[in-house]
């Protein structure tokens, strides 16, 4: 109907399953036990250093936001403007990725600190917390990369696998992707309203209104803050602040988009079908999380700025484990994968991101799955 529809082509039954040997049920049970053991061990060890880490991140984000907004409001000349933009973008990235995303996963609920509680935390982004928790924590994390069930796969507008239906408008998807990247926070924000259902007539106008309410109120607050309130506080310097906030939001959008797209849409990240994942065991669920995710390699600062989504595999195995622990358990997860012959998808940022962009361009064309192609 439009380029925004993303439905499964019923002619292709099998999902890609390259790079891993087949594991039978007892193998999967053993895999689950080994991974559970890691979780149990880390959970028992949670303590002061995890608390110290998240508090340090909160302090850092706050200091960076104060510095950034201060420089934009009271600074003079292009250098202070540039530094202000970077400081504010850094604050937003840190807050969204390392603090907001992780806190809302409940990674720090065990601390029983009301300001770090998944039930109440709200982040500095137009996406309303209740929408995020449903579309991300509930749908994406349980149905990771299952075509038709994981609405984060292609975000309902991109065709990233041959099993997804092609439409002439899909040819324009590199352009859609570019727009999504610069407006990423808005894409994330309206994602859980599920506009596609409305356009297909599967949602009433009243329901749409109801579903949009948290988004509209959150968006109004965010727009007011960045484009009215803070510019107004700067009096005659308002254009500087307004433009600065716009740029900071843009930088945050591009960065988060790049990191998040590297999580599940890289070259070897696999997709799954509803049929193939029906009644899956815990081990099979773990296996799907590993096969559907991809890691990024980099230094400590890179991991922090990505909210440790650079350890997407570990994050998908244990979404509620404090994120800095992912780096610690990664070698063990990798070793387990090697033993079971599971492909552990990990590479540098540029290489992974290039493979994502390639996938967006390639599948803009009516590609066919190797499984369904005539022999």
């Amino acid at each position: 109907m439009t380029a925004f529809s993303r439905t499964i082509d019923p002619t292709s039954a099998m999902a890609t399953n390259a790079g891993s040997r087949r594991l039978d049920a007892p193998d999967l049970d053993r895999l689950a036990d080994e991974l559970d053991a890691i979780r149990t061990e880390v959970t028992a060890d949670l303590g002061e250093r995890d608390a110290r880490h998240i508090r340090r991140m909160v302090d850092r984000a706050q200091a960076s936001a104060i510095a950034g907004r201060g420089l934009l409001m009271f600074g003079w000349g292009p250098i202070s403007w540039g530094v202000g933009v970077i400081a504010l973008a850094h604050a937003k990235i840190l807050e969204n990725m390392e603090i907001g995303h992780n806190v809302m996963h409940g990674q720090y609920d065990w601390m029983d600190d009301p300001s770090l509680c998944s039930q109440s935390y709200d982040w500095d982004i137009v996406c309303a917390r209740e929408h995020w928790i449903n579309s991300h924590n509930v749908e994406h994390h349980s149905h990771t990369n299952i075509l038709g069930k994981d609405h984060d796969y292609g975000y309902g507008m991109l065709r990233l696998a041959p099993e997804q239906r092609w439409h002439p408008a899909t040819l324009l998807q590199p352009l859609w992707y570019f727009l999504l990247a610069i407006l990423f926070q808005w894409g994330v924000a309206i994602h859980d309203i599920k506009l596609g259902r409305f356009f297909k007539g599967r949602m009433t106008r009243a329901e749409l209104k109801q579903r949009s309410r948290p988004f509209l109120s959150k968006a109004a607050r965010q727009l007011f803050k960045d484009y009215v309130f803070f510019p107004a506080l700067a009096f005659w310097q308002w254009p500087r602040v307004l433009l600065g906030n716009l740029c900071a939001n843009l930088i945050r959008n591009l960065w988060t988009n790049a990191i998040i797209f590297c999580g599940h849409f890289t070259e070897h990240a696999q997709t799954f079908t509803r049929d193939g994942t029906r009644n899956e065991s815990r081990g099979a669920w773990y296996l799907r999380q590993i096969q559907g995710s991809s890691n990024l390699e980099g230094g400590r600062w890179f991991h922090v700025l990505s909210g440790h989504l650079s350890h997407q595999i570990e994050h998908h195995l244990f979404p509620d484990m404090p994120a800095p622990r992912y780096a610690e358990i990664a070698p063990r997860v990798r070793e387990i994968c090697e033993r079971y012959g599971i492909h552990y998808n990990s590479a540098g940022f540029w290489r992974q991101y290039a493979s994502v962009l390639k996938r967006i361009v390639v599948h803009a064309w009516p590609t066919r799955s190797p499984h369904t192609a005539p022999a």
């Binding site: 002061e48 995890d50 608390a51 706050q62 601390m111 029983d112 600190d113 500095d124 607050r221 309130f229």
Partner: protein
């Protein structure tokens, strides 16, 4: 009448607060203020330990100086104190053991309990200068007003603390009320505040203290106490101590027909009787989990055993941190004995047991 403007005011305040966010983020301001002075806070009451007194091998008293958000207390009330232990915020309720004076100092007395808990941590770490977070004083275990009649105070172990606060308060008002205090303790070295009670007797002409050590003199039952006091019918009883003693006295007073003149303060939640009733299955709606409440466990303990992590504070039915909405089912409150059978009622998980299958907003 007042409800509409009050609601409108709240809405306006919320809108305003949203509009100037993040400048209205009190937690963010608190983080900045705390760096300047750990006592500063826009929301919580922070208190500094100004003196530590070791009362006995396993009991210590702390004098706390709260910041200006503290609104004072009445003798007999308690506070909830929270500290962070290994990254986890832990809370515990303590009775204040000093009168509400003008010097704005508070005293709590704590007996060392299970390892890893708040009391254990304070024993190891509380020293002059430590800053902790406390709640406002609460509780209705206070002196009867107007001016007290003859009183009978029964204190078991560290249950003497709220009663001590009342005695200080009476002494400050130069009260001449006739007071009999029964102080019960197990071992001779576990008697708390012996010197302080002697000093109080000098200021309170009507105070008579009966110290009873059960290791030396055998157990003192509620009947024994009632027999010692000849004018039971006139006296107002104030009781604070371990669960066994509380139940014993409440029982005896009921038989004597004077239970309406009994006031109590609980330090621990009453235990559900083990083996009573059948196991009930509980549906935690928010977390989409089912768990079973076994006989002898509270709802809080059962939920925790099932891996849920409901919020809790005192675990004794005081602080209401574990307040939870019940959607349906029958629940009995162990403290009040009341049964909630209506749908959509609030319940305190730590002192509630299921009497049927339940649905909870958990």
């Amino acid at each position: 009448m007042n409800q509409m403007p009050a609601r409108a005011a709240t809405t306006i305040r919320r809108r305003l607060s949203n509009a100037v966010h993040p400048l209205s983020d009190l937690e963010a301001w608190n983080r900045v203020l705390r760096r300047i002075d750990p006592m500063w806070s826009l929301t919580g009451i922070r208190a500094r330990v100004v003196e530590r007194v070791d009362e006995s091998a396993d009991t210590l008293s702390l004098w706390l100086k709260p910041n200006r958000r503290w609104r004072g207390h009445s003798a007999g009330q308690h506070i909830e104190l929270s500290v962070e232990i290994e990254g986890v915020r832990r809370r515990r309720v303590f009775s204040l053991s000093n009168a509400a004076g003008s010097n704005r100092l508070l005293r709590i007395t704590l007996q060392r309990q299970a390892a890893g808990g708040v009391t254990d941590w304070l024993h190891a770490n509380a020293r002059q200068g430590l800053v902790v977070e406390i709640s406002q004083a609460s509780g209705d275990f206070v002196l009867p007003s107007p001016a007290p009649e003859p009183l009978l105070m029964i204190a078991g172990g560290s249950g003497v603390t709220p009663l001590l606060a009342m005695l200080h308060s009476l002494a400050d008002n130069a009260s001449t009320t006739d007071i009999r205090l029964f102080q019960l303790f197990r071992q001779p070295d576990q008697r708390l505040f012996a010197k302080e009670l002697v000093a109080l007797s000098q200021r309170l002409p009507g105070l008579r203290v009966h110290a009873h050590c059960s290791a030396d003199q055998g157990r003192l039952s509620a009947e024994d106490i009632a027999e010692c006091v000849d004018d039971m019918a006139l006296r107002h009883t104030l009781l604070c101590g371990p669960e066994g003693l509380m139940a014993d006295v409440a029982d005896c007073w009921r038989r004597l027909g004077v239970e309406d003149r009994l006031r109590t303060e609980r330090f621990s939640a009453p235990r559900p009787a083990a083996g009573s009733g059948a196991a009930s299955s509980v549906h935690a709606v928010k977390s989409e989990q089912m768990f079973t409440q076994a006989p002898g466990l509270t709802l809080l303990e059962s939920a925790e055993a099932a891996g849920l992590q409901p919020k809790f504070g005192c675990r004794a039915g005081l602080c209401r941190t574990c307040l939870c909405r019940k959607r349906s089912g029958r629940v009995r409150n162990l403290v009040t004995g009341l049964v909630s059978s209506q749908p959509d009622e609030w319940l305190q998980l730590c002192i509630s047991v299921a009497e049927s299958d339940l649905e909870l907003s958990l």
